[in-house]
């Protein structure tokens, strides 16, 4: 087999597994619905209940715009992070079943199963972020992004989703149970987003937390999305965000492949 035809077959097998994931999602949409529902609930909570005093307290950081415009980029990032749970659960469930043994005893490209899961997760995230964006527009979000900016937003969301999907795949592979698979993604779904500039600027936090918030990957991601959507200057933060995505994806990919071989 030449390297090229090997690569074609690998791509074909991955596409087949991606098709399987899409069918799974369509047949069992609950996990997709939940990844949409939880950011929407947060959005409504912060816009209608907590947003008033927070927006007031932000003062300059919100640049005079309503708090919802500051909030929505953060909610979009949380939508991406919300995909971690279903991804880890799906991978864990798949590996615990017998179907994977069948695949392993066939002449199927080794990594295709995980690649299909990751592709499926990225697609689900793109659907979820689109739905959440529409809801955000309905509750008063007024972005100042150009068409090019929107493409750039996708250019941040997709790699970030890709990186988190590989991370979740690894977490799902090493988990001992479904609950464990979901639980191990919670820091990425909630803790890291909260301790970043998702809801309030990092600058407003106490010193120690501020340092952490300023240097963890979620902050450049949300800062980039916020700059693009509110028309603020982007600076180099997008490069930092993409570098983080690449680093997370690489490490998580290697971890997931090693874990896949072991199980």
């Amino acid at each position: 087999m030449s390297a090229l035809s090997g690569l074609t077959i690998a791509a074909q097998d991955s596409a087949t597994m991606l098709g399987r994931e899409v069918k799974h999602t369509l047949r069992f949409p609950l996990l997709l619905v939940s990844t949409i529902l939880s950011p929407v609930v947060l959005l409504l909570l912060f816009v209608y209940i907590l947003g008033g005093p927070i927006g007031h307290g932000l003062g300059n950081a919100a640049r005079g715009a309503p708090y919802v415009d500051f909030l929505v980029p953060g909610i979009l990032m949380m939508t991406v992070a919300a995909g971690c749970g279903p991804m880890a659960i799906n991978v864990h469930t798949d590996m615990a079943g017998r179907f994977v043994d069948r695949i392993r005893a066939m002449a199927v490209t080794r990594g295709a199963l995980l690649t299909g899961h990751v592709g499926g997760s990225v697609l689900r995230t793109l659907v979820a972020t689109t739905v959440v964006t529409v809801v955000a527009l309905l509750v008063g979000f007024r972005p100042k992004a150009s068409v090019a900016d929107w493409f750039a937003v996708v250019g941040i969301v997709a790699p970030f989703s890709f990186a988190l999907a590989w991370l979740s795949a690894a977490l799902g592979l090493v988990a001992k149970s479904v609950a464990g698979a979901n639980g191990s993604t919670l820091p990425f779904q909630f803790l890291l987003p909260f301790v970043s500039s998702t809801f309030v600027p990092a600058a407003s936090m106490p010193a120690g937390v501020r340092w952490f918030a300023a240097h963890q990957p979620f902050t450049p991601v949300v800062d980039s999305l916020r700059a693009l959507l509110t028309g603020a200057p982007l600076g180099t933060t997008a490069y930092l965000a993409l570098a983080w995505c690449a680093a997370i994806a690489l490490v998580a990919y290697l971890w997931a492949q090693a874990a896949f071989r072991r199980t």
Binding site: Q12, D13, T16, R27, D101, R102, R104, M106, A107
Partner: protein, 319 residues
């Protein structure tokens, strides 16, 4: 151990000195096997004997600790990719995708086997018809019976027309009717020239299906041969005569000295030397005077095989 020397056919599976241990627990303790092409070979043994471990090693799912194996001419270690291309595996636990319909499961296999689109549709339909799954084709396996799930599982294995199929306890957990259906399916496969390695806990299964049997116990092959050869070595076949009272039992025991008596149950067990003639002989020697309450014919079962080849090996081999 019987060695197949009279076959001119090619070898499908050749295994030498296969070993596998998990920590301190030795699962396979030096297994040698040779299976000819087109043969049905049964691995018989109780739970934990190592049957599934052999199947998992030969189907490239787990590595062996020691030993060599070739499968359809490919070295298991060096050429595992090629091995995967010619084998099919169906285990006792269904390996179907529960979220896809029966038809989608088959088509998924077709895609993974890189069959052309029209080829995989045709093959899927052919298998759905053959395994009586046409009506259930658009339903997910959640609605299937155990027998249907097993048939779908096997149909998925057959999508790629494997030349060697591992059937790991294919009828465990099935009702008698589904079991017979599965046996017929296996016979049909044999008719197509497919080589089959079957594992089972039931002696009747290789009896119906297999050319040769190897009995596996604690990770070792303790007996091997054709069904007939193996059965001859099993002393378990006997007639069970039950009497109305102790006096009748005494009288019968005097006439049939080869029998073993059980005074509590008023039962005499007389070895079955084979067939009707043996039965007629036993009854003739009893005569008309002894009142037999009940007569049953006991055929050897797995317990007897195990007694014969493990519990009392020296006696079994001298018979």
């Amino acid at each position: 151990m019987d060695v197949l020397t009279n076959h001119a056919t090619r070898t499908a599976v050749s295994v030498t000195g296969l070993r596998k241990a998990y920590g301190e627990k030795v699962v396979l303790d030096g297994v040698d096997l040779t299976i000819g092409e087109g043969e049905v070979f049964a691995l018989l043994g109780p739970n934990g004997a190592g049957k599934t471990t052999i199947v998992r090693i030969l189907s490239t799912l787990i590595p062996a600790d020691a030993g060599t194996a070739t499968v359809m001419g490919y070295d298991l270690q060096r050429d595992d990719g090629a091995v995967r291309g010619v084998i099919g595996v169906t285990g006792q636990f269904s390996a179907v995708d529960d979220l896809l319909t029966g038809e989608e499961n088959l088509l998924l296999m077709g895609r993974l086997l890189h069959l052309p689109a029209n080829g995989r549709r045709a093959r899927a339909f052919e298998l759905l018809e053959r395994f009586d799954l046409v009506e259930a084709a658009r339903q997910t396996p959640a609605t299937y019976s155990a027998g249907m799930k097993r048939r779908l599982d096997l149909a998925m294995t057959l999508m790629g027309r494997p030349r060697l199929i591992f059937l790991d306890e294919p009828t465990t957990g099935l009702d008698p009717r589904s079991r017979h259906t599965m046996w017929q399916i296996i016979r049909d496969l044999v008719g197509e020239g497919v080589t089959i390695l079957l594992t089972t806990q039931y002696l009747e299964e290789p009896d119906h299906l297999a050319d040769r049997i190897a009995v596996l116990d604690h990770g070792r092959i303790v007996a091997e041969g054709t069904t007939e050869e193996l059965k001859r070595r099993i002393p378990g076949a006997h007639f069970r005569l039950r009497f109305a009272d102790a006096a009748s039992l005494d009288q019968a025991a005097r006439e049939l000295r080869e029998g073993t008596r059980d005074d509590d149950d008023l039962v005499l067990r007389v070895p079955n030397e084979g067939g009707i003639r043996s039965l007629r002989n036993v009854l003739a020697r009893l005569g008309d005077d002894v009142a037999v309450e009940d007569l049953s014919i006991h055929t050897p079962d797995l317990d007897d095989v195990f007694f014969a080849v493990t519990g009392d090996k020296s006696k079994a081999t001298t018979q």
